[in-house]
């Protein structure tokens, strides 16, 4: 629990990733038989968002259909990365270093890709999952000190000697938050916010919920995003 009168600690996010998965109620096998038309139509829909044939990968070589996939990678700009992957059982969207300023464009791009895939394949969605993972870096306090507010002294007794870092894993209704030490960046937390959604929740609503979740995590840690 943080004290409201305590000044916020400035934090920056040197790297972040999102992964958005839409699971199908049952496998859509016609993908392998009609990939020519599928690529053409999905690319057409994604073209205004920087996707091109150069970024398309078809992974159909395996003998196991569950390993078949088709990936559309954004080529302009190439970084930060944005990929839309399709298998017989799900659509997986992955993107790097997304910020809230660029969220509307990202939602448009993802929406265009998903709509095109939907009209080609007509899958029934069974569930959705959205993960935001980010390295959160601070410099005015050690992350071990920061985490003390979230972990009891009793938990520290789980290890012999003084713990060097304590993490948190909390699951709520359809939401899991994990906080560990980052191994990529100095004095940084590795935070993951994982939320399950019903099949028909729109991407805009998912984004709004994610923003609330992210704000809640920052508030709980008494952090405020900004330059260090």
């Amino acid at each position: 629990m943080t004290d409201a009168s305590e000044p916020k600690i400035q934090a920056q996010i040197p790297a972040s990733y999102i992964e958005y998965t839409i699971n199908f109620a049952s496998p859509v096998i016609k993908l392998g038989d009609s990939r020519g038309g599928l690529i053409q139509n999905v690319l057409e829909a994604l073209k205004p968002h920087g996707f091109s044939l150069e970024g398309v990968e078809t992974k159909l070589g395996s003998n196991k259909p569950s390993e078949h996939a088709m990936v559309f990678r954004r080529t302009t700009p190439k970084t930060p990365g944005l990929n839309i992957g399709l298998s017989y059982e799900r659509i997986v969207v992955a993107a790097d270093n997304v910020d809230w300023q660029g969220a509307p464009q990202l939602i448009d791009a993802i929406g265009a890709g998903i709509n095109a895939l939907q009209s080609e394949l007509s899958p029934d969605f069974s569930s959705q999952q959205f993960i935001l993972a980010m390295h959160v870096q601070i410099k005015d306090k050690s992350i071990a000190e920061l985490m003390k507010a979230l972990v009891t002294d009793q938990a520290s007794q789980l290890v012999a000697g003084k713990p060097s870092f304590t993490g948190v894993f909390i699951t709520g209704e359809k939401l899991t938050v994990t906080i560990e030490a980052s191994v990529m960046f100095a004095n940084s937390l590795w935070v993951r916010i994982i939320r399950e959604h019903d099949p028909f929740v729109r991407l805009e609503e998912i984004a709004a919920l994610l923003l609330e979740d992210e704000k809640r995590v920052f508030h709980a840690l008494n952090l405020e995003e900004g330059a260090l």
Partner: protein, 225 residues
């Protein structure tokens, strides 16, 4: 999503160190592992003999760690023993240049299954060891004056005098005359007297013994928490 942002589970490349070595691409950490991992992507690793793979990684100037997977089809039989050590590798291939990365070779034993728990990083990256203020400017300065190595080497003596948990920042400070100093500031939670004594010890025992890179200005400082 693991700490490097890997989300794919279909592998047509071997990401050495990301542990994604089977066709399902997922990995679970198993066994003792006290190192961190440099990620190197190599296409179609199964076509590479193990020695060549090791050699390529060893020749990378910032190579750190090789991970072999006991269950991976990519691992060459002589190297899959879970007890393998850096020495085992050198014995298998005496032509590897030890002096290139004498302390950066590790072997770990992993079982593939879930990317989510992999601890992956380049142990020698600036960002992992220092909080960077204006990262692009700092990284450019470090690159220009070839300071990566001295900054890597400074970590051990800094930890020794200021403590393992101390926060270190790197910032590029420009003075009134337009000269740049790269300032490494360690945040110290003790009192001023101890902080200054620690800085003096660091300076005397380590920093003064280091060769200087011409044209660069690297300053070590301390601030009190």
């Amino acid at each position: 999503v693991n700490q490097t942002g890997e989300t794919t589970t279909t592998l047509e490349k071997l990401v050495v160190g990301s542990l994604g070595m089977n066709s399902r691409g997922a990995v679970t950490h198993r066994g003792a592992f006290d190192g961190l991992i440099r990620i190197i992507s190599i296409s179609m690793p199964s076509l590479l003999p193990a020695e060549e793979l090791i050699s390529r990684i060893a020749q990378s100037p910032r190579s750190t760690i090789i991970v072999y997977n006991t269950t991976s089809e990519f691992a060459a039989p002589p190297l899959v023993a879970s007890s393998a050590t850096a020495e085992d590798i050198f014995q298998l291939n005496p032509h590897l240049t030890r002096q290139r990365a004498p302390n950066r070779f590790y072997i770990a034993d992993f079982e593939t299954n879930s990317l989510g728990h992999a601890k992956i990083a380049d142990t020698h990256s600036l960002a992992r060891n220092y909080v960077l203020e204006n990262p692009t400017a700092v990284e450019n300065y470090v690159k220009r004056y070839r300071l990566q190595s001295v900054l890597n080497d400074a970590i051990r003596p800094l930890n020794s005098v200021f403590g393992e948990g101390s926060i270190r920042t790197l910032a590029l400070i420009t003075d009134d005359e337009g000269n740049d100093d790269l300032v490494c500031t360690t945040r110290f939670s003790g009192d001023a007297e101890h902080a200054l004594a620690a800085l003096e010890r660091f300076d005397r025992d380590w920093w003064r013994t280091q060769p200087r890179n011409e044209g660069s200005s690297l300053v070590f400082d301390v601030e009190f928490a």
